[in-house]
Symmetry: C2
Subunit: 231 residues, 2 copies
């Protein structure tokens, strides 16, 4: 067994509410964390600034990988269509970015092998989520199986990749309550898919709706700066 001081993790940090909570959970669990963000041409670039700020204030190594997802197009999150603001629907929404979590986890896998890190934390959530297929437990499990066949370290048995998803069965309310208990300052996170130029959240997109409902359900004051009162 490794010593406690050897516990290292890669944390995918988007700068949103969920990934900031995941980072707090990993740190509270004694992991030395290395944060990874992706600049994929997202509309909501305030997210990336939030990620950098969160990592810096936690004194954590942070790296941003630039990848061109706009090449494949097909999502409102990368500017091809309008972000919908009519509420969460049953079908998979247009804000879905094709294979996004697969691509993010694939890059994290390469990094984990170089840094000799077993644990990759990602803030996917299968409860209060937006209907993305790559947030489901069966996807995560299949990725983990693949990952351990993909790498030199996996084949040689020196690493055993685990995709850690502490939020996967939690409601947004529970996520926020957990984060607050660990001292997360949610005013520093960014969730909105379609923010104003000054960084204020639109208050109407799926991400804003989920976030607002989470704070309301948790009975915690929402520190988000919204464009206008949308309660």
């Amino acid at each position: 067994m490794r010593n406690a001081q050897d516990k290292k993790a890669i944390v995918l940090l988007s700068g949103g509410l969920d990934s900031a909570t995941v980072l707090a959970i990993a740190m509270a669990d004694g992991y030395q964390c290395h944060c990874l963000s992706f600049d994929y041409g997202q509309r909501h670039r305030f997210e990336l600034e939030a990620a950098a700020r969160i990592a810096r204030e936690a004194g954590i190594l942070h790296h941003t990988i630039a990848i061109d997802l706009r090449a494949s197009g097909g999502s409102a999150l990368t500017g091809d269509t309008e972000v919908p603001k009519t509420g969460i629907q049953d079908m998979i929404p247009v804000t879905y970015v094709p294979a996004r979590n697969t691509i993010f986890l694939a890059h994290a896998l390469g990094w984990s092998e170089v840094l000799e890190i077993n644990d990759i934390f990602i803030g996917v959530n299968a409860i209060d989520y937006s209907g993305y297929p790559d947030c489901r437990p069966e996807f995560i499990s299949a990725f983990e199986t693949m990952a351990n066949l993909a790498t030199k370290a996996g084949v040689e048995g020196t690493l055993r990749i685990r995709i850690r998803t502490p939020l996967i069965s939690m409601s947004k309310k529970e996520i926020i309550q957990k984060g607050i208990s660990l001292g997360v300052d949610y005013s520093k996170t960014h969730s909105c898919y379609d923010p104003l130029p000054d960084g204020r959240a639109c208050g109407h997109c799926d991400s804003c709706r989920l976030r607002k409902k989470g704070f309301t359900d948790a009975g915690i004051n929402d520190p988000t700066r919204y464009a206008h009162n949308t309660q």
Copy 2:
């Protein structure tokens, strides 16, 4: 069933001998091909030029995605250490790029969903290969399983992703014989990991050794321009 004219494929085209053969196989099989290359800061950038030339001459849509694999480091192929020239060894070599095929296939998966393409062709080879874990059938199978759980199209049942590996059980000799029978001009492909500034192959790296041995075994004249006679 789809009509023959609906048969579309994404072909991962590195510009090397194997992927050029895969493209010829897919085209001969009646697929309308879309080629995808990756600029990952590789030393052997002549490969990318070869890929663009091969696609152009075949009149095929070709797209290059820039990704920063050097961020994670750890491979002689991205300039961290010397390319070895002492022959192929049993262990996984330093030219291994962490999670490379996982990352490439993940990006191809995103593209396949946008273009509504079931078939992704990749020129991995588990016989005369350099010992990369992500060239083995068990990796490919695990990736395919994961891919069909990762995407909106897979969940909705409109696409069934297949990772096609026509070379996986072929020797280099057989690959070359197949390519020649399909009219592949191997003088336009590039294999060397450490070429001279004028594009000539070093003749000593693993990739050059495998290529030369393949042509010798096939009894076919090797059209590669080597730096010097290394037979």
